[in-house]
Symmetry: C2
DNA sequence: GCATGGCTATCTACCAGTTGATAGGCTTTC
DNA sequence: GAAAGCCTATCAACTGGTAGATAGCCATGC
């Protein structure tokens, strides 16, 4: 089935937010992106916080689906697949993680959006924690936080340095600190 | 001597940007913060890109001054001092690194501002690279990128998770991956 | 001593454009 | 006929930015 208008709006919003931030995105931008009027966007998402919440929600559940498809039999290949999820966003879409930017803007954002961003990070940490515990990685709690932070920060540093290869460099170093080759 | 109006404006701008982002900050906000009218803010900084550039410039040179005061005799204590620089911003000022948020917003920001943000990250990487090379750390290039990314990302994850202690956890794990205790 | 003139820093008043949001009307589909 | 999905038209508030006036300061020159 073809994508619903609701999804098309969320697609446009995701692209814009990941590029320039939540506060830099307007209903009129989205409207012209999908070919309707701004009043019609309000029909689908009454307020901007509503839109933000739906956006992070969808992003998180899509990310979760990808996580569930990762083969966790080997620590090394599981981590490689995990990193690839982030890397794709940076290289293919030429944008950073939605929650990296919404996390950075946090203080100026509606509270309901902040809660969803927080949940995204927690989900990531929990997935890694489980992986690390099952593989006997030392200090699994600290390490899972470190990996999430390194990848989120890596996207920001690499994209703002206009050096996509730097992300891979960072990811490689992060993995090496866990899995001794 | 008392701070000039220019500095007071930059102080207010820094606080607001680090809280909610560059695009969420307006000339009128700053004006009311420092007790003048928005037209007078334009007198000191003609356009918003001008203000952004001056802001990141000042931030970078202040950070550089702090870096130069760090005693680099011991790798461990040097890294601890470096981390403390970031940690202070997060705990005392209750905000994240200026360049973390301006790096995240990058695509929607004026080019001159992006260049300055890029320069901030480069300065950090170079300082760490020198430290690592002089101390025989393996893969010094990759590792210096990783540390910057982990700390910048750590601020975002920790602040948006409303868990300041998480930053210390991340920093600790990052240092441990270099300096085996 | 003091008028002249330029400079700095602020003001009031305004502009055109954008923002999130609402009210009410028009189709199409079930 | 009613619900869904979109429209036009409009709103008040806010945006970055400009024009022109005003007040105080400080040097120059008579």
């Amino acid at each position: 089935m073809p994508p619903t208008m609701k999804d098309k709006i969320l697609d446009a919003a995701e692209k814009r937010v990941r590029g320039a931030g939540f506060s830099a995105m307007s209903f009129r931008d989205l409207a012209s992106d999908v070919g309707i009027k701004s009043a019609s966007v309000h029909y689908h998402f009454p307020t901007k916080p509503d839109l933000g919440e739906a956006l992070v929600d969808r992003y998180t559940s899509q990310f979760k689906e990808h996580l569930e498809q990762i083969d966790t039999a080997s620590l090394k290949t599981a981590l490689d697949s995990y990193v690839a999820l982030y890397s794709q966003a940076l290289v293919l879409d030429e944008t950073i993680c939605l929650c990296a930017i919404m996390g950075a803007e946090a203080i100026g954002l509606p509270k309901n959006v902040n809660q969803k961003t927080k949940a995204f990070f927690k989900m990531n940490r929990m997935w890694l924690l489980d992986l690390f515990q099952r593989n006997g990685v030392q200090n699994p709690e600290d390490t899972s936080c470190l990996i999430v932070a390194a990848l989120e920060g890596g996207m920001i540093v690499a994209s703002s340095s206009d050096d996509r290869a730097m992300f891979d460099q960072i990811a490689k170093a992060a993995i090496r600190s866990i899995v001794t080759i």
